[in-house]
Amino acid sequence: MIGHTVSTLRPDLAEIASWIEPGARVLDLGCGDGSLIDFLQRAKGCSGYGVEIADERVIACARRGVDVIQRDIEAGLDMFAGSRFDVVVLSMAIQATQHTERVLREMSQIGAECIVSFPNFGHWTHTVALLRGRMPISQEMPYRWYNTPNLHLSTPADFEDLLATLGLLVTRRSFMAQGRAIHFMPGSRSTQAIYRFRSR
């Protein structure tokens, strides 16, 4: 079995991985096929678990030797209440959560630090689409208005407002488009935003 290298990780996951200290204990919510934990275990000596709801992804995690807990993160993180993690990750899934505030609050209670990535609804192409009278469709949000799982789309500014409301402190932020970092006018030029935050 060939492990993931940084170059084969999804770009936002590679960026997230670069923020995580070697040896950290990590919880990856909505971990998909477990590629982030797999990489962190192999390359950085981290330990941790993925949390995933879909059967086929749970099996994919087991196949690559990643410990996975099958659970709907919306049903609550009670099982983890007695545990503490160095980092809790939620990548490209916050926009599909129903109880978004609760998820963020629970993450901050079990993780010393939390990392969340999400599609930036404020990307200029979305603005153009709306000006043309159409709902935006992009690589990060490839759905039609009627079949999208995304309930809670936001811009980086919106997200930062919510973190402030919840009393959570941003410790690092990064913006990307096409897998590359965006430094200039990220609010309209980035397609993905990544935030690290913790309780105050």
Partner: protein, 389 residues
């Protein structure tokens, strides 16, 4: 293509040293019947112990010499090319103390009296079974199991192994199990026991001396047990309210008989299961094993704190539950997962959406078996020649 382990022959081992039991009693000497499949490797590192539940035995896989229809109770899980692949693992199935399939139990002759133990057989616990299994492992030269595995009551034994002999297993696989019985679980067990002990043929457990079998009590016990193994949905789908078709009927009956004879298919099915069971299962064993279930509660000595009880555990864990299992519901397994997470142990947990209720752990749901196969790959990688640093 998965195959069977073929014809298997049970083995028997006598233990002369007394075994001290949780109750304070002890068994002077005893025999355990077991089966093995596959080959123990030179490093003795590929052994997997499979623990049985209430009515099963050491006959986990393959068929017996005299009866090609006597297929092991977990034959879909254990064999060449199956999730627990006997071409790479050495699998041990053992009949527990107090059971009625060959190991010392109530039907055995008590050497002190020259008569069957009957009701004098001491009450045994899950932990007692584990200690007896550990002695069998000693005798087989197995210092450490690659995995100890079980479903339901068998899962409780696997969990007990992780706490009692933490250095003697690398992985614990516990399926459709619970950290302790609920009041409802105990209630069902008690109804089953009352059915047995109030049967006039029970004779205070000395029915062997009277040449009787409390068959009616056993039948009712099995019927109530069986109801708890199935989900409401699967019963509705399998039987619904369909009326029993009698031998002389040419078409499905649609009219009631207005009697108390078997009217519905479900009644016929439960009676059949009960009768079958009463012909092969010992009533005293049923009492003993349901009591072992009732008593299992490792957190009890730790003020109800399961995480504290599981603190000695060192192995990696795989737990699985089934969505429609209301006997040992997913919530019960989540309690175990939470305790293991709190102890920073490696744990995987799958909640399989299957319609079959508690029985699902014995069936071959493809997702369930794919998960187990993947996990056994991981276990095999850990015992094979190390290729990764």
């Amino acid at each position: 293509m998965p195959a069977s382990v073929g014809v298997v022959t049970p083995k028997r081992l006598r233990f002369e040293a007394p075994l001290a039991l949780t109750s304070g009693a002890s068994i002077a000497d005893y025999e355990l019947v077991y089966e093995t499949y596959g080959e123990l490797n030179a490093a003795r590192s590929n052994a997997v112990l499979v623990c049985h539940a209430l009515n099963a035995s050491h006959h986990v896989a393959g068929v017996t010499q005299d009866d090609p229809n006597d297929v092991g109770w977990w034959d879909n899980m254990v064999g060449p090319g199956k999730p627990l692949d006997t071409s790479r693992f050495f699998v041990v199935g053992v009949n527990n103390l107090g059971s009625c399939f060959g190991s010392t139990g109530p039907m055995s002759i008590n050497r002190a009296t020259g008569k069957p133990y009957g009701p004098d057989f001491p009450v045994v616990t899950v932990e007692d079974w584990v200690h007896a299994q550990a002695r069998l492992a000693d005798a087989l030269g197995i210092e450490r199991f690659a995995a100890v595995m079980g479903g339901s009551l068998g899962g409780m034994q696997a969990l007990a192994w992780s706490m009692l002999y933490p250095a003697r297993l690398s992985h614990c696989i516990a399926i459709a199990t619970a950290p302790k019985l609920s009041a409802q679980n105990i209630a069902f067990n008690e109804v089953a026991r009352r059915a047995i002990v109030t049967d006039p043929d029970f004779h205070e457990g000395r029915f062997y001396d009277h040449g009787t079998v409390p068959a009616r009590g056993l039948q009712v016990a099995r019927m109530i047990g069986h109801i708890t193994y199935l989900s409401d949905d699967v019963m509705a789908e399998k039987f619904g309210r369909t009326l029993r078709r009698h031998a002389h009927d040419t078409a499905l009956r649609s009219d009631y008989q207005f009697t108390f004879d078997v009217e519905f298919e479900i009644e016929s099915y439960l009676r059949y299961q009960g009768e079958k069971f009463s012909k092969y299962f010992d009533a005293n064993t049923y009492l003993l094993i349901t009591r072992a279930l009732d008593y299992f509660d490792p957190a009890r000595d730790h003020g109800g704190n399961l995480a504290a009880a599981m603190a000695p555990a060192q192995c990696d864990f795989l737990l699985a539950s089934f969505s429609t299992d209301w006997r040992f519901a997913p919530d019960r397994t989540r309690e175990i997962v939470a305790a293991l997470l709190a102890n920073r142990l490696r744990v995987s947990y799958a909640e399989i959406d299957a319609p079959h209720g508690h029985d699902a752990f014995l069936l071959d749901d493809p997702r369930y078996h794919a998960l187990l196969a993947a996990y056994f790959d991981r276990i095999a990688a850990g015992i094979g020649p190390k290729t990764l640093a």
